[in-house]
């Protein structure tokens, strides 16, 4: 309908890419808008809830547990069944197949089988003619519970030895000896809160019965393949009997990696049972109560260091709230362990990770996937060391950076081959005027009684690849039609991150055709099977490569054909700017396609990619889990009101490495958006549970994600211009989905810096995350109380 803007835009190729075509629209490296931008702004983009409903469609609602841990003694659903408009009711007993929607271990029931383990757990579902009828009916159940002891936080779980998975340890060197020998030693405990994904589009799935008992599902999911497998198992069928499609999500952030399975399984079960189309859309409160979030952690540390602040030995204990089931907690907590070094060399180290079972919602993936909490730990410790020694935290950070060619092995034995952290940190230190401003802020704080400012620079080093090696694979399917236009399918999903745009740019580049000649198709399990979740920032890395491989296959066939047909050597054939040069002649791409079709050349191909070089042994936590690392650094400056704890971000300078970006505009959006989401996690988004195990912050009225007022007054984000992936990734780009989130640690430490200004020299305020105004005020008050004595 509307011409996408990129059709009228000049394609720019980024420097250093001379081999790339000069003039196709949407070449790799050009900052074209999101492929759906013209549909987003016109309101024509179709999300799952917008798909026209079938006449027979039923709406579903879920009956939830009111207790954190209890046996269901009796359940009377007769009033539910009798309620107006109700067509069907289902409980655990009515599931024909497997009662499980857990992604790794089968410990996540679709409907609680007589035992409930968190407030909000799905117990039964109702199908009715309208949404209202379904939701009202779901409230009419009478459930008698026999309460069992509930464990409601990680500390209690630790004390009770309650875990969803075995605890794990990584050690290197001799941390005990190093701690004993160190000149200085500090110990402490930290709390870092969880975070709700708060994707603007809530969880939703629609299931349509098809012939022969098959199901077709529209699911808002980062992992259509898993939804397919789990729905098939739930209805007692096989993967071949279920197709799952997702064109786009209204945000996901990890919250739609494993969680959509529950929603889709309920829709699928009901559609299977009633033979009618069924839609389940959770309302926001239910979504927040029923589905998993980022893990909150308690962290204990014990660190020994020398007079310069260099760490000699360190021991970490991480305990996370996994909730009632394992979900993805194993890999998430592994990633915490892999990132509690951040950019620092820890020679003698012991990292213990406990995966606590609590009677709260099962926590899950959220951008960063455990990495942010690991980094939170080490950044806090480094900040502690600096404050203890009376040094600039940046100086201590630099003292501990991984080296190049030395001090470059991680605690899990991966050698870091692409370290550019010094370069990035020095560049942003300079461009942000860190040193000058730090001095100026100190002077300001001396004069200002009530308002205090703080500044901090923190680095990010983030490992790219799924830590479960087998997930690092991707498939694609490319068709070329006889008019020279293309259908592009791959296993990745679009949640707003721009994956579909970037992969289309790769295919446009490979085939040398304008990007508007390519139609980006929905993720669909019938086109690309067994795809991994779009997660771990790996979307464009692996799907880009798979799509490129598919396009290259077709291109090779075309070259072989053209060489024969026109009797020219293969290497004298070149695809450039919608045309193909064949020896001295040049014909249009479309013309070549027509001729190839006539000569019975296959114009459809699959592509496959597996990330090379990674190998890692989970039993010993050693090897190379990551193909490469992404780096960045940020300087944040904040101001706090010491009377109220209120605060704001005054200025942020970011320098982030995207390698050779596939699309700088889209990547910049990831940097800014990721940073802002991280700042929300560390400053305003607070999850509270009461003593009955109920989440009390289950709506935007009480759960505060950043608003436009939280945008830093002065926000300067830049991409690291010299960036180029040392590994042969797709056009030497780097993954950018998750790493920028952790740049927000600079905000937290700037706040801590401002709080510290209230205390005496070398004071070390205890500040937990999120540093809400309340928690800042608490820290300020503690500093003031302590102030006289220090």
């Amino acid at each position: 309908m509307h011409r996408p803007a990129y059709m009228t835009m000049d394609a720019k190729t980024s420097p250093g890419r001379q081999d790339a075509g000069q003039t196709i629209a949407g070449a790799v490296g050009s900052p074209i808008p999101h492929d759906s931008a013209h549909l987003h702004v016109s309101g024509e983009a179709i999300y799952v809830d917008d798909i026209p409903e079938r006449q027979d469609l039923l709406h579903l609602a879920v009956g939830m547990s009111a207790r954190p841990h209890a046996k269901i003694r009796k359940m009377d659903l007769s009033a539910v069944r009798r309620a107006p408009g109700v067509v069907a009711v289902m409980t655990a007993a009515d599931i024909p197949g497997e009662n499980n929607c857990g992604p790794v271990i089968a410990d996540d029931p679709i409907f609680a089988p007589g035992l409930v383990q968190y407030v909000g757990q799905s117990v039964f579902a109702v199908a009715a003619e309208t949404v209202d009828q379904a939701r009202k009916a779901a409230k009419l159940a009478t459930i008698e519970y026999e309460d069992l002891e509930a464990i409601l936080d990680p500390r209690a779980a630790l004390a009770a030895g309650s875990f969803v998975l075995p605890s794990e340890t990584i050690t290197r060197g001799d941390s005990q000896a190093a701690l004993a020998d160190a000149k200085h030693r500090l110990q402490g405990s930290l709390n870092v809160g969880g975070q709700d994904q708060f994707y603007l589009e809530g969880q939703i799935a629609t299931a349509l019965p098809a012939e022969d008992g098959d199901l077709y599902l529209y699911s808002s999911t980062q992992h259509p393949g898993e939804v397919q497998h789990l729905v098939a198992a739930a209805i007692g069928k096989l993967s071949k009997d279920v197709v799952v499609e997702c064109r786009r999500m209204g945000g996901a952030f990890g919250g739609k990696e494993s969680q959509p399975a529950l929603i889709a399984c309920i829709a699928g079960l009901m559609a299977d049972k009633t033979g009618r189309a069924c839609k389940l859309r959770l309302d926001r409160d239910d979504d927040m109560i029923m589905t998993g979030k980022r893990h909150d952690f308690v962290i204990d540390y014990d660190v020994g260091f020398d007079a310069t602040g260099r760490i000699e030995g360190i021991e970490f204990m991480f305990a996370s709230r996994c909730g009632m089931s394992a979900d993805l907690s194993g890999a998430i907590n592994d990633r915490t362990m892999f990132h509690c070094d951040n950019a620092y060399y820890l020679e003698n180290v012991s990292i213990v990770s406990h995966r606590c079972k609590t009677h709260t919602v099962s926590n899950t993936a959220f951008r960063g996937f455990g990495g942010p909490q690991g980094m939170f730990g080490i950044e806090y410790v480094v900040d502690e060391i600096a404050r203890y020694l009376g040094k600039d935290p940046l100086e201590v950070r630099k003292k501990n950076f991984y080296g190049v060619g030395e001090r470059d092995i991680t605690p899990y034995q991966q050698k870091i081959r692409d370290n550019i952290i010094e370069e990035i940190v020095s560049a942003v230190e300079k461009s942000a005027d860190y040193q000058e401003r730090r001095k100026e802020i100190r002077a300001f704080n001396k004069e200002s009684e009530i308002l205090r400012r703080g500044i901090a620079l923190t680095p990010v080093k983030f490992g790219i690849s799924f830590t479960a090696t087998h997930l690092n694979q991707a498939g694609a399917l490319v068709h070329v039609y006889t008019d020279g236009t293309v259908h592009l399918n791959h296993g990745g999903t679009e949640m707003g991150q721009g994956l579909f745009t970037k992969v289309a740019q790769v295919v446009a580049e490979e085939l040398q055709i304008d990007i508007d000649r390519i139609k980006i198709m929905a993720s669909d399990t019938s086109k690309v099977p067994n795809a991994s979740a779009t997660a771990a920032s790996s979307g464009s890395d692996i799907n880009g490569k798979a799509a490129q491989a598919a396009a290259a296959k077709i291109k090779r066939r075309l070259i072989r054909f053209a060489a024969k047909h026109f009797a020219v050597p293969k290497d004298d054939i070149e695809f450039i700017n919608n045309r193909v040069r064949i020896g001295a002649e040049s014909i249009s791409f479309e013309d070549l396609i027509k001729r190839a079709w006539f000569a019975r050349i296959s114009l459809s191909a699959t592509g496959f990619y597996r990330t090379p070089k990674i190998n890692y042994d989970r039993s010993t936590f050693s090897g190379r889990p990551f193909f490469y690392y992404a780096y960045g650094a940020a300087v944040s400056e904040v101001i706090i009101d010491t009377l109220t704890g209120e605060n704001r971000i005054l200025r942020v300078d970011i320098l982030h490495d995207c390698g050779e970006s596939l699309n700088p505009a889209i990547d910049m959006g990831q940097i800014e958006g990721g940073f802002s989401q991280g700042a929300g996690w560390l400053t305003s988004e607070e999850l509270c549970w009461n003593s009955d195990g109920e989440l009390t912050t289950h709506a935007p009225s009480t759960y505060k994600i950043p608003t436009c007022s939280d945008l830093p007054v002065d926000f300067r984000a830049k991409m690291f211009e010299a960036g180029r992936n040392r590994e042969p990734t797709i056009y030497r780009s780097k993954a950018v989905g998750e790493p920028p989130l952790m740049l927000s640690l600079s905000v937290f430490h700037a706040l801590r810096d401002a709080v510290a200004s209230v205390g005496g020299d070398r004071c070390r305020p205890q500040l937990d995350a999120p540093a809400t105004p309340e928690s800042v005020l608490k820290a300020v008050t503690a500093m003031q109380a302590e102030g006289g004595s220090s």
């Binding site: 309101g43 994904q197 603007l200 989401q677």
Partner: protein
């Protein structure tokens, strides 16, 4: 079933007469009855702004208003921003300046911005901030949204 009430609403210039249940929300009327699905539901409780539309020129969160309350009124939704097959400068600017990622907040954001520029064709940053205060975006971090609104305002002023 409760009895239905006859209402007349003009949406994006087209007059609709409908018999609706008194409890039908305006957003349901727009999305389900009129099939204008550009208006999204994000929170159901008047906080996120995804469902923002204009009713008689004023921004309204359509998830918290009954359809019958719009009786006799003029509604403008995102689908009505386009004129003669041409996108509104705000729509162009959101696309060009990457003021969107997942796009779910975009229609509501556009409606608030549209109202803002109607009231104040040359808003300062602080005024833009105030103008879109009621609209949450989880993806962009807002910077590009500000850029898009400023740019659209400038373009509309110069008439380009």
């Amino acid at each position: 079933m409760s009895e239905r009430i006859g209402i007349t609403v003009t949406v994006n210039g087209t007059r609709y007469e409908r018999e609706v249940e008194p409890r039908l929300l305006l957003v349901q009327l727009i999305r389900e009855e009129l099939r204008l699905t550009g208006t999204h539901i994000g929170c159901d409780t008047s906080y996120c702004g995804a469902c923002t539309i204009l009713l008689d020129g004023e921004p309204v969160k359509s998830c918290t208003m009954l359809a019958v309350q719009a009786d006799g009124g003029e509604v403008l939704t995102v689908e009505g921003l386009e004129k003669d097959g041409k996108l509104h400068p705000l729509q162009e600017a959101f696309s060009e300046h990457h003021g969107l990622q997942c796009g779910y907040c975009t229609p509501g954001m556009l409606m608030s911005a549209y109202y803002l520029l109607e009231q104040n064709p040359d808003p300062s940053n602080a005024e833009i901030r105030k103008g879109i205060q009621g609209n949450l975006c989880r993806c962009t971090g807002y910077k590009n949204i500000f850029a898009a609104i400023s740019d659209a305002a400038a373009k509309m002023q110069t008439g380009s």
